[in-house]
Point group: C2
Chain length 204, copies 2
């Protein structure tokens, strides 16, 4: 039951995503009509709904690619962290933030975030939660690494601290994408300021 059919399927998937990514970027998420995406991908409207449950899931597929890239970039930092807690955190979170607008506009982020809270059980909603968790785990891994290296106190509950750091960063990022005028440099500075309080509590 594979061969031609599987190839066509993968190809249509790709065409839909490419068309959507281009249109989302040019016309915005709301501005991109399913009909137009279908036309550009050379499939029918019905077919799009055969591949994705709803418009949000198409955006979701694009967001997932972006976040996975970020996770990959983060791995290097965890493997080889700067030699103090403050810089280590700043470097990892900095990677997340700096990459964030590579493929996705603020408007696309807003939509993605909105959909993930609106429909937490949709395919995208679950995928988004999984991505959040993966980011949290990466921060936790960094903390564990720092503890192992003797750079952070070992009597701190690492996983809980990681969650706290992620939650705060994520909330700051949400506010960042809500304001078109907000800049990346200020966002990073604000998060650094907040983490300073935590760093004081955990650095050896």
């Amino acid at each position: 039951m594979s061969g031609l059919r599987a190839r066509q399927k993968a190809d249509r998937h790709r065409r839909i995503i490419e068309a959507a990514a281009e249109l989302f970027r040019d016309a915005g998420y709301e501005g991109a009509k399913i009909e137009t995406i279908a036309a550009q991908a050379e499939v029918s409207v019905g077919t799009i709904y055969n591949y994705y449950q709803n418009k949000g899931d198409i955006l979701g597929a694009i967001v997932s690619m972006e976040v996975n890239e970020v996770l990959n970039a983060g791995r290097g930092v965890v493997a080889n962290p700067p030699a103090n807690v403050s810089d280590a955190l700043d470097t990892l979170l900095g990677i997340y933030i700096e990459h964030s607008l590579h493929y996705l506009s603020k408007e696309m982020w807003r939509q993605a975030m909105a959909i993930s809270t609106q429909l937490p059980d949709s395919p995208f909603g679950q995928a988004y939660s999984a991505l959040d968790l993966a980011l949290t785990e990466q921060i936790r891994a960094l903390i564990a690494r720092l503890q192992a290296l003797g750079l952070a106190r070992r009597d701190i509950d690492g996983p809980v601290l990681g969650e706290l750091i992620f939650n705060n960063m994520n909330m700051m990022f949400i506010e960042f994408v809500k304001r078109d005028a907000a800049g990346i440099a200020e966002l990073r500075a604000a998060i650094r300021r907040q983490n300073r309080i935590l760093v004081a509590a955990i650095a050896v």
Copy 2:
């Protein structure tokens, strides 16, 4: 230019909100059609859009009432906080969380949060941000109070700490409303665990 007209206006506002609140609760936000709300409020569809820019703004009005009640309840704690940082924070945040599902179902919260990120510049989007800020300010006020009472270190940046605490709680609350199965007791316990790290850093 007031009198009868103003009275009718206020009355229609009230009828729309009451009808919407009932329908949102019974049928869910998506399930409640504007047409039905209009019928139940005994106004036309057009009139609803004369009073509210969109469906989300109707929900927004309901959310605002809820959050304002919470803010009011919080004032008592700030005025008369428990005599240690840990209990003081737990009491204030506890009030926020315990009140949260009084008038709003989790589904209504999800929709409200989604709309506020999706349309940050709509009337409701701005109102929601203002409410978040008011909650942050209340936490900051509590911290300032604790510092003034000599219960918390004064060399900590109170406003930044307040923001950190709010952001973390808010993110935890978002995750809470995303899972229908999640319970209030576990949410509070998790937040307490997170705040323990902060408390250790700031209690005298």
